[in-house]
């Protein structure tokens, strides 16, 4: 063998290796997956959308859809319907709503609100709001709470704000500074109430609800409630049910009632811890998954409260024992037509969760796998087109 021969061989091998390693196919868009879970008749409700938060930093916020007519649960509908939207729905979906013909998703860590056509789930536009949290609507405007208010001298004390968005032009029209780290909102007449948490100021939580006049879009004042406020639900009697998460140590989570006639707390429900709640008629469905740093345990409870009498009707709206399957209950919804109860389980937050559908009597009808951290459910009157 001539001395150069092996070098030629080696060169050929190297060139072949280089060519082999050169190209790689682009990734496919992740398709939706369908599961038949059982159909039903829900009157004018065609189905529901379910928002999966996705773990922070994973860009895995996804949207699912259940259709009553076909009984099919479709997981992850956004990506395949919007192949042109860079990086899909985004990072940590925090709130979901339908207003008019549009479907709105507040994508917290993507610092934007995704606006879709509710009939097709196709992208219409997006509104950039840093650290946006929740959304409510009135008279052609969307109101979004955000943690990212102006930074004063001490960056530890940074107020949040509520943005007013024109739902037609998708432009931010105005902003109103509120308390620290504002969360859920409700609108009563011409006033907007927002729960301030102060979650960034541990252990110095905020404990107020800000009241905004929607005419002037100025803060009228604050109602002192309890530390670390989060959820809000308005009943038919002009009362706002607001949840306090406590401090995870000595101050227990509980629920308060604000009478909007006086803009004051009229009742404190010590025994009603609330992680999330939903109102159906006069029945307030509540679950709580309360963490305590002393005991290093979570305490999970369920309840239905009659908002008229303010009495707990039951502590078990799931009656077949299947609540034991839940690892981390994370969302709740009740179909106003059928009174079916939906509970989501976020499991360990890093693997897909589940949604469970219960009959009004609390018996499991069906369940389906969701995306990561299933949280919000909204019912839709227009069926989702293919």
């Amino acid at each position: 063998m001539k001395p150069m021969e092996p070098i030629r061989y080696l060169t050929c091998i190297l060139v072949a290796a280089l060519l082999f390693t050169g190209c790689r196919e682009p990734e496919d868009i992740i398709p939706s997956t369908q599961t038949g879970v059982g159909s039903g008749d829900a009157g004018d409700i065609a189905g529901f959308f379910l928002l999966n938060e996705g773990n922070m930093g994973s860009n895995k916020c996804t949207l699912d859809y259940y259709d009553y007519a076909t009984g099919i649960y479709v997981k992850n509908i956004y990506a395949e319907r919007n192949p042109g939207v860079v990086q899909e729905l985004g990072d940590v979906g925090n709130d979901l709503a339908i207003y008019g013909s549009k479907l709105w998703v507040v994508v917290n860590c993507s610092n934007l609100i995704e606006v879709m056509d509710a009939a097709t789930a196709r992208h219409i536009g997006q509104i950039s709001i840093p650290n946006c949290r929740y959304i409510v609507f009135k008279d052609g405007y969307a109101y979004v709470s955000s943690y990212a208010g102006p930074v004063e001298t001490d960056p530890n004390y940074r107020l949040g704000y509520v943005a007013r968005i024109d739902t037609t032009t998708l432009q931010v029209k105005d902003t109103c500074v509120v308390g620290y780290q504002p969360e859920e909102m409700v609108i009563v007449g011409n006033k907007l109430y927002v729960a301030n948490s102060g979650g960034y100021r541990v252990p110095d939580y905020d404990h107020t609800v800000s009241v905004i006049d929607l005419d002037s879009f100025k803060e009228l004042g604050k109602i002192d409630v309890a530390p670390n406020l989060h959820r809000m639900e308005l009943d038919a009697y002009g009362n706002i049910w607001v949840s306090s998460r406590g401090d995870y140590y000595d101050i227990k989570p509980m629920t308060f009632i604000i009478d909007t006639k006086y803009d004051a707390v009229v009742e404190q429900l010590d025994l009603l811890a609330c992680s999330d709640m939903t109102l159906c008629g006069d029945s307030l469905y509540v679950y709580s998954n309360a963490w305590n740093n002393f005991t290093q345990t979570s305490d999970v409870n369920y309840a239905i409260v009659d908002v008229k009498t303010r009495q707990v009707l039951t502590r078990h709206f799931i009656t077949d024992g299947t609540e034991n399957w839940f690892q981390n209950p994370y969302g709740i919804a009740v179909n106003p037509n059928t009174h079916e109860i939906f509970v989501t389980d976020a499991r360990d937050y890093i693997t897909p969760g589940k949604v469970y559908c219960y009959s009004p009597e609390g018996r499991l009808k069906w369940s389906a796998n969701t995306g990561d951290i299933p949280s919000r459910i909204v019912f839709t009157h227009t069926p989702l087109l293919r």
Binding site: P3, P6, T11, L14, A17, N76, V86, S110, L112, N328
Partner: protein, 656 residues
């Protein structure tokens, strides 16, 4: 162009030359120090790998996964045989680098500039006299810095290097070695690194979006200064080292959906690390003694400022860690074939942080290792037993975890069936644990003081076949093959407490890992040229057996590919050196739910480097051009952390 160079080099007739080619050592299994085999990269091989940091070099070992957050400044940690980062001990000049806070060593912070070798041991090292810490991790990486060697009558070695390239990288370094007397020498190594960390990357989907962006806020400024003293005494030696590292870096953050160009991560971190360490080795006949000490101070400042990035939460935390360490190890050769070793180590760690409700923990660790080995011609055996005592204290009463005693054994066997010693069989069993870190136990809101240690058990069988030839094309062939089963129990994992932003630590994991590591290395001499080739392959089935009720029970654990491998070819031709390196990481999942949403594509990169030496009288110059990721593959090692595409580096060294 690179291909053309390669072809030219291969096809042009060589100049008539009879000079002897310098012997180069293949990245291969080192002759066993005692019993346990290791993978090592040293000298020229290490230098030619287009590797900037230790992390880049370690990728070429089999059985290893590097978690890389991208860029020069991104965190790079090592995971050996899927047991987890915290099960890998990293030793610098024989003494362990500690991080009591989170148990992670960022290998991206350790430069290869002054390293002589990088060695990976599965199980444990097996040298003559070793500290108890050498027995105390499931696997270990040893970084050995250059010890001064003076040829002839030289009293001074000087080397100045200037490297630079893509991402606005400037990297000057200097090494000054001085003979201070007959038996004492010193070494000063200093290095500065600056990079903007900016690189283009592309995310695209088939028939979908295709976007290109520039990585922002990935800049790094780092200074490293090391002073070592080395001495010889009758039947022994000593060394003392002072190490200083100071850096500032930006955190580019996860690349997630954002309004393009609107928000920019502005998080920054400052590190100041200092340590001094030393050791003394002495023999008295059959009795060998090694004494070591270390003191380390690490300061970390993290800032996330909403005045710079409106979307962020204000975080301004400072962490100060201190470590004191003493070790005394001795070995007694009872017969030439039997020795007994006893080692005792003491370590003290403190952590101070300006966090709300922080308990200011400190930890005493006492390790005692008793080991014995038998060495006959065809059979070698080693057994060791490690006792660990851990006692934590906290400023607040009742906040500290209970103290702990643990006994952990290791057994190693080596069989050399034939007299020519070409073939070696080996087997080892090792049970060891990692303590929960101070963060796991005490981090405000997240820590859980009731955590138990995380145990790993390893069973390994393997063989090495090694043959050398004096003439012919093939001069060396080395084949190693290992199969193993590992189990990790009480795995410490973060679990959500009640919402996205609140997590806690629990002992809730059981992982079973079945794997095969294979490596083939060969040296060829082809007329005036010589070549070293090495290929590695790793198969791992690492399954989560935590919850039999879970639909994902038995799923492959996150970020562990079933198949991975590497290939390195180095060619020497006169004063020219060409190196080609290829890394392959197969498909894997980003979560234990092995579904399309979590699927990660395989990635593979090719790097090329070409260097030449020039002699200028008594001086020597060396120039190297590196092209990394020559096919500009757009890939991620960690979800949402894009890696750089094609990049260049030019290195010029002047050696006296």
């Amino acid at each position: 162009m690179i291909l053309a160079l390669l072809l030219m080099l291969a096809l042009t007739p060589p100049p008539d030359s009879t000079e002897v080619l310098s012997e180069s050592v293949v990245t291969a299994f080192r002759p066993p120090d005692k019993i346990i085999p290791a993978q090592t990269l040293q000298g020229e091989r290490l230098e030619r790998l287009n590797a900037l940091s230790v992390a880049d070099a370690i990728r070429y070992f089999s059985g290893v996964q590097i978690k890389d957050y991208g860029g020069i400044g991104g965190l790079k940690t090592i995971n050996v045989r899927s047991m987890g980062t915290q099960h890998v001990g990293v030793f610098y000049d024989g003494i362990q680098l500690g991080n009591a806070q989170n148990g992670q060593i960022d290998l991206g912070k350790y430069s290869l500039e002054n390293l002589e070798s990088v060695t990976l041991y599965n199980g444990q090292k097996g040298t003559a006299v070793q500290s108890a810490k050498d027995y105390a991790s499931a696997s270990a990486v040893y970084l050995q810095s250059r010890t001064p060697v003076f040829s002839g009558r030289k009293r001074t070695n000087l080397k100045a290097t200037l490297a630079g390239g893509s991402f606005g990288t400037v990297n000057p370094s200097v090494l000054w070695e001085q003979k201070m007397g007959e038996n004492v020498s010193s070494s000063l190594s200093a290095e500065y690194l600056y990079t903007t960390g900016r690189y283009k990357f592309t995310y695209s989907k088939r028939d979908g979006y295709d976007t290109t962006a520039v990585r922002q806020n990935g800049d790094v400024r780092a200074l490293r200064v090391e002073q070592g003293f080395y001495g010889r005494i009758p039947d022994g030696n000593w060394r003392v080292k002072l190490y200083f590292y100071d850096s500032e870096r930006g955190y580019p953050g996860a690349f997630v959906r954002q309004e393009p160009g609107k928000f920019r991560h502005e998080d920054r971190q400052w590190d100041t690390d200092f340590f001094t360490q030393g050791s003394l080795y002495k023999e008295w006949g059959d009795w060998h003694l090694n004494a070591s000490f270390k003191y380390a101070y690490d300061y970390l400042h993290y800032l996330s400022d909403p005045r710079l990035d409106v979307s962020t939460m204000y975080v301004d935390n400072r962490y100060r860690q201190q470590e004191a360490y003493l070790s005394l190890a001795q070995s007694w050769d009872i017969f030439s074939w039997w020795d007994v070793d006893l080692a005792g180590d003491w370590q003290f760690n403190t952590l101070d942080a300006d966090l709300v409700n922080f308990v200011y923990p400190s930890r005493h660790t006492l390790l005692t290792a008793l080991s014995t080995s038998f060495r006959w011609t065809h059979l070698k055996l080693q057994g060791s037993l490690l006792h660990t005592f851990v006692d934590d204290n906290a400023r607040e009463a009742g906040a500290a975890a209970e103290h702990r005693h643990e006994w952990t054994p290791t057994a190693v066997l080596q069989l050399i069936p034939f007299d020519n010693k070409n073939l070696t069989f080996r087997a080892f069993y090792k049970r060891i644990f990692r303590m929960p870190t101070l963060n796991d136990l005490y981090y405000t809101f997240i820590g859980n003081k009731y955590l138990k240690p995380e145990f790993s058990t390893q069973y390994n069988v393997g063989l090495t076949w090694d043959k050398h030839w004096i003439r012919g094309v093939f001069r060396k062939l080395n084949v190693t093959l290992d199969a193993y089963y590992n189990q990790v129990e009480n795995k410490i994992i973060a679990t959500p407490a009640s919402n996205q932003f609140q997590w806690t630590m629990v002992n809730l994991g059981l992982v079973g890992i079945r794997g095969v590591d294979a490596a083939v290395g060969t040296s060829l001499v082809l007329g005036p040229a010589s070549a070293d080739l090495r290929a590695t392959y790793t198969f791992q089935k690492a399954q989560d057996f935590t919850d039999p009720q879970s639909p994902w029970y038995g799923g492959q654990i996150p970020y562990i590919p079933w198949h991975s491998g590497s290939f390195v070819a180095g060619i020497d031709y006169g004063r020219w050196h060409l190196n080609y390196s290829f890394i392959y990481t197969g498909e894997r999942y980003e979560a234990v739910a092995n579904i399309p949403e979590n699927h990660a594509q395989p990635w593979y990169t090719s790097d090329l480097s070409l260097s030449r030496n020039f002699a200028l009288g008594r001086h020597e110059l060396k120039g190297t051009l590196e092209v990394n990721n020559i096919f500009n593959q757009q890939y991620e090692v960690v979800q949402c952390y894009p890696m750089p595409g094609t990049n260049f580096r030019l290195i010029l060294s002047w050696i006296l």
